[in-house]
């Protein structure tokens, strides 16, 4: 596995360098352009993580295997981190561009609500003690959230009054007027971040799986003395 980890490192490093030296600046944004290589991939990854979490949750409810629950929780934890990164970088950009940290831009609001959803999901997990119940209930919440949040992200911005403010950052990607070098670096960043997420996720799941297996082994050892089966008896008792 190590070769592709090294490859990812080089890819990421290369993208960072390209972002500063190779890709040109956008006209109105000047140096602020560089944020698109960090902010947008982070936001993208947080949405992908959300989808992965919801998908694993659905698989848990279907198959009831603890590993699916672990996958869901791991994706949610990572998704929260990337979501925070996206929000913070977005706020820095907003402050630098327009002097305000917060603009009530629809996408800003959406990513903020994604933080709330992740936060609620993790809070729910912390509040339920029984592992089976925790897995089941957080899976339900993940799916409920998966159903309603896209509503927030895609339908809401269409409503009339909401786009009073200029649609800043993201317009860059909408118009494919991006200079080819900028676009190339941008895609490279998107790919690198996605792979980084996948790698972190697999590590997290592997660690959790080891914990699970250890716990199960301990439990089996504890329970073994009582492994004799109980069946119907009819003997008269003294």
């Amino acid at each position: 596995m190590r070769w592709w980890q090294a490859g990812l490192f080089l890819w990421m490093a290369g993208t960072l360098v390209a972002g500063f030296l190779y890709a040109p600046l956008a006209r109105k944004l000047e140096e602020h352009t560089r944020i698109i290589y960090f902010h947008i991939p982070a936001a993208w990854v947080s949405v992908v993580a959300f989808g992965v979490s919801a998908l694993s949750a659905a698989m848990y409810l279907a198959r009831r295997r603890p590993i699916d629950d672990l996958r869901s929780a791991a994706a949610a934890r990572l998704g929260l981190i990337f979501c925070l990164l996206a929000t913070v970088t977005g706020m820095l950009f907003a402050k630098a561009m327009w002097g305000e940290y917060w603009n009530w831009d629809p996408r800003q609001v959406s990513i903020f609500f994604l933080i709330l959803v992740y936060g609620a999901y993790l809070t729910l997990r912390a509040a339920v003690d029984d592992p089976e119940r925790r897995a089941r209930l957080s899976a339900v919440y993940a799916l409920l959230a998966f159903v309603t949040v896209p509503f927030l992200m895609f339908v809401l911005p269409r409503l009339s009054d909401f786009t009073l403010h200029p649609d800043p950052i993201v317009n860059q990607t909408g118009k494919l007027e991006m200079h080819p070098r900028m676009f190339g670096t941008f895609l490279s960043a998107m790919g690198a971040f996605t792979l980084l997420f996948l790698w972190m996720w697999m590590l997290d799941v592997k660690a959790e799986r080891l914990n699970l297996e250890t716990a199960e082994r301990e439990r089996a050892a504890r329970e073994r003395p009582e492994a004799e089966e109980v069946g119907l008896e009819r003997a008269a008792r003294a």
Partner: protein, 240 residues
């Protein structure tokens, strides 16, 4: 032990299931009646949320004064008060059942569909009662003008339905969690926000005289989605 004295006719499983389908509404209405009756006698939820709403309205209007009459503010105030009153009254029904020991009583006798449907109907009923009081208080304390009362009521109804659909679901999720009290608001808010925002904007438009068709459509779609997803997912909350 003696031999069986009487023979009972064979119970066909399919007969039992067919009878159960027919009783979905019967059961849901029974649950609805039970909830409303219990609430009427204890006045627990409705009472506390009305007091809460009155206090919130009073504070907000004191702070904002006559500005509260403007549609932009009045619409937001209305839904803030409604959201928190609704959370206080609708979010804890399932937890009360678990703590009171009646949850397993109910789970034995009823099916998830009946209970969810009955709780939804009860939530809508309770919320309507709370809203009547809130509107009356708002009319007296603030007295804003509503140029399109029909549109206003339509948005109010649709927005309330989204609250009535979502809050019991979140409450059911938290019913068996520790320290569930404050978590209902935390977990419900991100789920309900799309509907709420549409409701606020729609209310403002109605107050200004327009018909908020886009917002109403969105509310219908959102509530519908919540109901369908909740219906399908509730059995996973129900079955331990």
């Amino acid at each position: 032990m003696s031999a069986p004295a009487t023979r009972v006719p064979a119970v066909a499983a399919e007969e039992v299931r067919a009878a159960r389908r027919a009783t979905l509404w019967r059961g849901a209405l029974a649950v609805w009646a039970k909830e409303v009756r219990a609430e009427w006698r204890s006045r627990y939820s409705v009472g506390s949320s009305i007091v809460f709403a009155a206090a919130t309205l009073a504070v907000l209007t004191l702070a904002v004064g006559f500005q509260a009459r403007r549609p932009e503010l009045a619409s937001a105030l209305l839904w803030i008060v409604l959201l928190f009153s609704a959370t206080a009254s609708l979010g804890h029904g399932f937890a009360r059942e678990v703590e009171g020991g009646t949850w397993d009583l109910l789970r034995q006798a009823a099916g998830p569909g009946e209970v969810l449907l009955g709780k939804w109907l009860a939530a809508a009923t309770l919320l309507a009662a709370i809203e009547a009081v809130i509107l009356a208080m708002g009319a007296v304390l603030i007295g804003p003008t509503v140029k399109n009362p029909l549109g206003f009521l339509a948005v109010l109804g649709l927005g309330s339905l989204s609250l009535a659909a979502g809050l019991p679901l979140v409450g059911a999720l938290l019913a068996q969690a520790r320290r569930h009290g404050g978590l209902v608001a935390v977990m419900a808010f991100p789920l309900l926000v799309p509907g709420l925002l549409a409701a606020v904007m729609g209310t403002r438009q109605a107050m200004q005289g327009g018909w908020p068709v886009g917002e109403m459509r969105m509310l219908i779609a959102f509530t519908g989605l919540l109901v369908v997803a909740g219906w399908r997912l509730f059995e996973f909350i129900w079955d331990e």
